[in-house]
Symmetry: C2
Subunit: 194 residues, 2 copies
């Protein structure tokens, strides 16, 4: 029991560092960059509120757990903004090593369960993972719209790139969310054309 | 559908402000004060990892949801550190009004469900709520221990006060967690006696 709890506490103490990983997007008020800890909270809440908009049958409790752990690897690997330039293969190697180390802090069978949930999220094949990915992708778009375009100008994002990199993934799990935002997105790009 | 989704999005946009509410404790590394958004993520993860240490039968999925929404009222009411001085009756009035406004942004039946879950957490009577409270109380203690005492000196907290205000509540739902930390707590107060 003591060894188990020590291992669990070591994991939770290490997890604290996710609060120092800064993302490509800002808070809705634009005051500062968002960190991956508070982002993880916000998208878990997004999933809880928006579950009914999944077009596939989902287990919302699994989706929430997936979203709570989905970014932990960034403690070692850092955040990689979707509109940034990084080598996907290299990133995957780094994130796999991060997952080995971080989930490996937990007691054996718990480490295996958490890792399986993270692998499922990454693979984006099951209904739960597809919806989780939709939620993870849509929240930064709302943050950018709320903060007057947010970090889109800094990354020179075009409306077409936003559709390809983000819209397609949001639509896969929850098309109603993308439809809901599409008018505001079109307006923003019309007003801010380069 | 559109009205429903607009209401849900308005709630999620408003929730973003929880990331700007600063708490009495710091990150584990002591670098800055923790905000209530990232705190809510961390304790949801704590609950997910430590569920087995509840002495009562719990539904961990309900506990996690409870913890994701438990601090939202702070958007209007602010954070009230457990070792700070505030009038509990006055605070309750303010938090009830905050709950009316914030959960009231959601579609009617969803507002009712979220409010019921928050009321249950606040009442701290059901097994799920008792465990959720234990988790909410234990995480700042770990943060204080990790950061060399954290904000205990600033609040002039004695070991006895920590036992009465925090230990009792952690023990109620998950005594193993308090037992696990008690040696480190005793050591800290021995080394830092006023």
């Amino acid at each position: 029991m003591t060894n188990r709890l020590s291992a669990q506490m070591a994991f939770l103490v290490e997890a604290d560092r996710l609060k120092t990983v800064l993302r490509g997007t800002t808070l809705n008020d634009g005051s500062r960059r968002e960190n991956s800890g508070e982002h993880s909270w916000h998208i878990a809440l997004y999933a809880m509120v928006l579950a009914e908009h999944s077009t596939r049958p989902i287990n919302i409790d699994r989706v929430i757990k997936m979203l709570l752990i989905h970014d932990l690897v960034e403690i070692d690997a850092g955040d990689n903004p979707i509109h940034g330039d990084h080598d996907p293969a290299e990133m995957e190697t780094i994130e796999q090593a991060a997952a080995d180390r971080l989930f490996g802090l937990l007691p054996t069978e718990q480490a295996r369960d958490f890792r399986a949930l993270w692998d499922e999220f990454e693979a984006a094949e099951t209904d739960d993972a597809v919806f989780a990915k939709s939620i993870d992708r849509v929240q930064p778009v709302v943050a950018n719209l709320e903060s007057g375009g947010g970090t889109w100008p800094a990354y020179n994002v075009t409306q077409q790139q936003l559709e390809t990199r983000v819209g397609v993934k949001v639509r896969r799990g929850a098309p109603a969310l993308w439809d809901h935002l599409s008018g505001r997105i079109a307006d923003w790009f019309k007003s801010n054309a380069i």
